[in-house]
């Protein structure tokens, strides 16, 4: 244990460490292989780049299969990584039966994802662990903002006719405007999947650029709907177009498709982020969403980010888990770490 004095600023250091490496690059939001990167402001659509994409599905699958066997974290390191997973979490409720009370409960959990007793046992009081954001429908933005006031937890609104994204463009754009006006910090938008199937890259680019403009200062996460796009090449192409059009984050899925975030899909998107950063000097974040339910899975994803992009992408600024059930499993694993006994779900306060 380090003294309270030393550790009191650990949380801030975690976020600031990378950005202060080079004073000359103070505007950098991330680093890749020693190179400072700026936030993404988009570039003109480069169709050649989109068309040159090569993805070998079997090779991607082999890499993800081998990666989960190549990397593991144990003991205190595992606890630390799981805490990091919590800090990168968009705690989400996107159900037809959501109510204001339900959202308030979720926000309470977001402020305090781990019960006090466990925080003390782990000796991490000074980290002030909380989730990164709460993700809700527009209707609940205000409720969430009120519930989270002063916590530093962001409010993210899904938008643009989520999850299908098939309402008229003007309505989708104005939906973003309403959420931004209501105070949402982050907007999760969905693309028109038909543009990808039809290779209408210009239309896709224009749509996302319009969303970006409507977002203004709010962070835009672009949901590709990977479970609908299906082929890894299409996913890579859509990733590039979204980044060119100014996405702050690219996100796998709505959580409503038959298949949600998978490691192969994520690897393809993460490699696209890397190539975009190498070519443009700009950093884009990544959010796998849906299907990540176990603590072990969250570590696999963190390891993938560390391996493919580096430590900058282990922070909430550049990486999020979109999850509703993940936190419960992480809590149980953390309790096991603290007590040596396997835990039960009912022992942890629900959201």
């Amino acid at each position: 244990m380090v003294s309270d004095h030393d550790s009191s600023k650990l949380a801030q250091r975690a976020d600031a460490k990378i950005a202060t490496r080079d004073r000359g690059a103070s505007a950098a939001c991330a680093w890749l292989q020693g190179r400072p990167l700026l936030p993404n402001s988009g570039i003109p659509l480069d169709l050649n780049w989109v068309r040159e994409v090569r993805v070998n599905t079997s090779a991607v699958e082999r890499r993800t299969q081998s990666q989960v066997a190549r990397r593991t974290v144990k003991k205190d390191w595992q606890a630390a990584w799981l805490l990091r997973a919590i800090s990168c979490m968009d705690l989400t409720t996107l159900s037809g039966d959501d109510t204001e009370e339900r959202v308030r409960r979720l926000c309470a959990k977001a402020r305090q994802p781990i019960q006090h007793e466990l925080v003390e046992k782990l000796g991490i009081e000074q980290l002030g662990i909380k989730v990164a954001a709460v993700c809700v429908y527009h209707t609940f933005v205000e409720t969430a903002l009120n519930a989270l006031e002063g916590s530093g937890v962001h409010v993210a609104a899904v938008s643009t006719g989520f999850p299908a994204g098939l309402s008229p463009l003007a309505e989708r754009v104005s939906e973003i405007g309403r959420s931004v006006e209501a105070g949402a910090h982050e907007i999760d938008v969905v693309i028109t999947r038909a543009y990808v199937f039809g290779g209408q890259w210009q239309a896709l680019y224009d749509e996302i650029a319009a969303f970006k403009q409507a977002c203004g200062g709010a962070h835009m996460k672009v949901i590709l709907g990977t479970g609908d796009l299906l082929t890894l090449r299409n996913i890579a192409r859509a990733s590039f177009v979204a980044m060119m059009a100014g996405a702050d984050f690219i996100k796998t899925s709505t959580g409503k498709e038959a298949t949600n975030a998978t490691l192969p899909v994520s690897l393809v998107m993460v490699r696209a982020i890397r190539e975009y950063a190498q070519q443009t000097g700009m950093a884009v974040g990544f959010k796998p969403a849906g299907g990540i339910r176990t603590a072990k899975q969250s570590i696999d994803w963190l390891a993938m980010m560390k391996e493919e992009l580096g430590d900058s992408w282990l922070r909430a600024e550049m990486f999020r888990f979109g999850a509703s059930g993940l936190l419960g499993d992480i809590e149980r694993q953390l309790e096991h770490h603290a007590t040596g006994r396997y835990s039960a779900e009912y022992r942890h306060p629900i959201a």
Binding site: N56, A59, T72, D76, R84
Partner: protein, 793 residues
């Protein structure tokens, strides 16, 4: 460091596999191991032991018996004694034993994995996830073959006692590759594990006891190179199967030449890893990680020569360097380590020396900033760029985590560079175009081609090399055939030693005056050619009458014939249907001249045999014309989403020493299976009646056989065998003669390790189509290339 600090640093931290059980196992054996002979642990006759160490820290793990010739003798005697009972078991009972071994490997999988990593230095991820599961798979697969043996190979018998020598890079996996097919086919074995890594073989001996494998069926004798030498030289061994360096393979070929020991060799490699500009480059980089940084690059099929299309070379190298920066090197028992320890100090020093040599030759050396552990033998992942084909590091096997990178411009140049090596074990092709990938795959001289993947193995897919990477296959149906031979052949009587065939001293005055108006020339490149010597040889009938004179070929004629055969590229490329058509045409033309040829042949072999030879010859030609488009390959079902295509490819250019006793039928029986599948041939016809050459070349000429596909050099075997068997551009030699001739063919073939197939000095009834034609011949005329093509979108 607190959890809070770890939350900030986000490092991996240690994740050690607990070696407790493996240590306990060593303690149970008092860290001292004897040989496993005849089902018992026997102390070495000479009482000598050597240490095996953990290369990750240099600490001694155990003392292991040093095998002497006396120990080998005892083991071979035990194997011989165990043989009759083992081979007499029903296939089903042997299948049960093999199945039980597979189950036991799985049951003790973690102990075996940890022991392997401790003894060898490879990361526990590899021994746990790759080596040991493949070991179990190999025993399961061969339990299946044991079960089916009677139905699938009713006319085959096991060799008997097999000596097996395995390397240190995949100790237990190589043991499985050797022992599983040998036992499945009813052989008993004496296996010598590598000096550096004997422990898992000894643990396996324990599994054999647990499985109740009868005494003497599996014998393990530990020791160094001298132990292996004793095994190779032991006169009671029927076959040697060796995996290791090309240098030792060559010595084994030499040492076994004078015996009837059958041989399969899986040797070194310098495998190309070809990346085209339309490849998934990130995928290719991971392929390299699985290729050259797998098992510290100590892999015979490691993709150690990177060939990059010029246009993507720069970006690919940059991606490779980025990836190398994330490789984790360290204690191999850590579960999150990518690169472990080099097996021994001597190997580490060899790698260091070769990299220094590469740099001295002008290569640019790049290594990631990795702190090597202070103890143990480690070498960082290394890439040498600006390497030219002339550099030592582009030609010789380094057997370390060292990649040599070169560029190419066109697919044609890629193939040329890829094949510019004495080896031919494996290769990788990365391209998103199936046209490019398969076009290149077909042209690569290698036993395995991985398209858009690397180092995939499965028991169903035979593994083995072309050229100096050895011969024989391990795995698959073809691997099984390395441990059996046809029953009839095994029991065929020995040929009488040929009467001395020293050529009579040539007096120019004695020759050049043919007594009959007929000049038999050589047949080279589709043309009749005068012999370089300017001499001819007398051909006499059994009663001494001069029948005529044939050209006296010499080494230069052999040289010319090999060149012509090598240049005859149209024949191997011809479609199987076209080859069949040409062969049918040969049969047609032989039939037309049936009586005329038989009457000439009669002067040497008598009227009756001559007639039979011609009649059977026509039938044999028909047989191989029929076979030409039917000796198909296979599509294997390895447990991946993948098609693995097993192609039967011609061996290449083959020298044939034809049997003497049946001048026409013997020639056709050997040359036809070879050309039916697309080989080109240099044949030395029967010394007894070389005049048959003129009938044969007229036959080929009139049947549209392209020039150079078959070349005929008449002369004395004692003079022609040597230049043919020693020729480095000849891929195989088929030598049918008495024991002495056959032994010389084997001994002379060591230069380029060409495949040698002989009658082992036995008689063959060439008139019996059941034994003298068919699959057995075609199997030797081809080598299997497995092309792995994963798919998925």
């Amino acid at each position: 460091m607190s959890i809070a600090e770890k939350f900030v640093s986000m490092e991996y931290g240690p994740a050690p596999e607990d070696p407790k059980e493996a240590q306990a196992w060593l303690e149970r054996h008092s860290r001292k191991f004897n040989h496993f002979i005849g089902g018992q642990w026997l102390a070495p006759a000479a009482g000598e032991y050597f240490d095996t160490i953990d290369p990750s820290n240099g600490e001694k793990l155990a003392s292991v018996a040093q095998g002497s010739a006396a120990d080998i003798d005892a083991a071979v005697r035990a194997a011989r004694a165990g043989s009759p009972k083992w081979r007499a078991l029903t296939p089903h009972v042997r299948a049960r034993y093999l199945y039980n071994l597979a189950r036991l490997v799985q049951k003790h999988s973690r102990l075996l994995a940890v022991l392997e990593t401790m003894d060898n230095g490879k990361p526990i991820r590899e021994s746990r996830d790759i080596d040991i599961p493949l070991v179990a798979r190999h025993f399961y697969y061969h339990a299946g073959w044991a079960q089916l043996l009677g139905q699938e190979f009713p006319d085959y018998e096991p060799y008997g006692v097999v000596g097996q020598i395995i390397p240190w890079n995949f100790p237990l996996l190589m043991l499985a590759w050797k022992i599983a097919p040998a036992l499945a086919t009813g052989n008993t074995v004496v296996l010598k594990p590598a000096e550096f890594t004997p422990l898992t073989a000894l643990a396996f001996a324990g599994l054999c006891q647990e499985a109740g494998i009868p005494a003497g069926v599996v014998n393990i004798v530990t020791g160094d190179g001298s132990t292996g030498e004793s095994l190779v030289k032991n006169s009671e061994i029927d076959k040697i199967a060796f995996t290791g360096s090309t240098e030792v393979g060559r010595a084994i070929r030499g040492a076994t030449a004078a015996s009837h020991k059958r041989l399969s060799l899986e040797l070194g490699g310098k495998s190309p890893f070809i990346v085209f500009d339309d490849a998934d480059l990130d995928g290719a980089v991971e392929g390299l990680v699985d290729g050259i940084w797998f098992n510290q690059g100590q892999v015979c099929c490691a993709g150690s020569r990177l060939l990059m299309q010029e246009s993507i070379a720069e970006v690919l190298i940059s991606k490779i360097r980025d990836r190398m920066n994330t490789l984790r090197l360290g204690p191999p028992l850590d579960k999150a380590i990518d690169v472990g320890a080099i097996v021994a100090r001597v190997q580490l020093e060899r790698i260091q020396r070769m990299v220094a040599q590469g740099v001295a030759d002008g290569a640019t050396c790049w290594q990631p900033q990795i702190t090597l552990p202070s103890r143990g033998f480690y070498f960082p992942p290394t890439i040498l760029s600006n390497v030219h084909p002339t550099s030592i590091v582009a030609q010789q096997e380094i057997f370390g985590p060292v990649l040599a990178a070169m560029t190419f411009r066109t697919p044609r140049e890629a193939v040329e560079l890829a094949n510019n090596t004495v080896y031919g074990l494996a290769s990788c092709v990365w391209s998103e175009s199936i046209n490019v990938a398969l076009h290149v795959a077909a042209q690569l001289k290698a036993g395995v081609v991985w398209v858009n993947c690397t180092n995939l193995f499965d028991a169903a897919c035979g593994f083995g090399g072309y050229r100096e990477s050895g011969y024989g296959r391990e795995g698959g149906r073809e691997g099984l055939l390395e441990y059996m031979e046809p029953k009839w052949f095994k029991h065929a009587p020995k040929l009488a030693a040929a009467r001395p065939t020293v050529p009579p001293s040539q007096d120019p005055a004695d020759s050049g005056t043919p007594s009959i108006d007929r000049t038999v020339k050589l047949y080279i490149g589709g043309k009749q050619a005068r012999p370089d010597s300017g001499y001819s040889m007398e051909v006499r009938s059994p009663d001494g009458a001069l029948l005529g004179e044939a050209s006296l070929g010499n080494r230069k004629d052999i040289r010319n014939a090999v060149e012509a055969a090598r240049k005859a590229e149209s024949w191997p490329k011809a479609t199987a249907h076209n080859r069949a058509q040409v062969l049918y045409y040969c049969a047609e033309n032989l039939a037309v001249r049936q009586n005329e040829i038989a009457s000439r042949l009669a002067s040497a072999v008598g009227e009756q045999q001559a007639k039979r030879e011609v009649a059977s010859g026509i039938e044999r030609i028909f047989s191989y014309a029929a076979w030409a488009d039917k000796f198909d390959g296979a599509v294997h079902n390895p447990p991946f989403r993948n098609i693995a295509i097993a192609m039967n490819e011609p061996v290449g250019t083959v020298g044939v020493i034809c049997p003497s006793e049946t001048p026409l039928l013997g020639f056709l029986s050997l040359v036809l299976p070879l050309i039916a599948v697309g080989n080109t041939v240099i044949a030395v016809p029967s010394e007894k009646f070389p005049l048959i050459a003129s009938d044969l070349y007229q036959l080929f000429d009139t049947s549209d056989l392209p020039g150079g596909a078959v070349n005929i050099v008449t002369g004395y075997v004692s003079q022609l065998l040597k230049p043919l068997a020693e020729h480095d551009d000849v891929d195989a030699i088929w030598c049918y003669g008495d024991e002495a001739t056959v032994a010389s063919a084997k001994a002379m073939s060591t230069g380029n390790l060409k495949q040698v197939w002989t009658n082992e000095g036995r008689t063959i009834d060439w008139f019996d189509s059941k034994v003298a034609e068919g699959r057995w011949f075609l199997e030797h005329a081809t080598q299997v290339k497995n092309i792995w093509v994963p798919y998925g979108e």
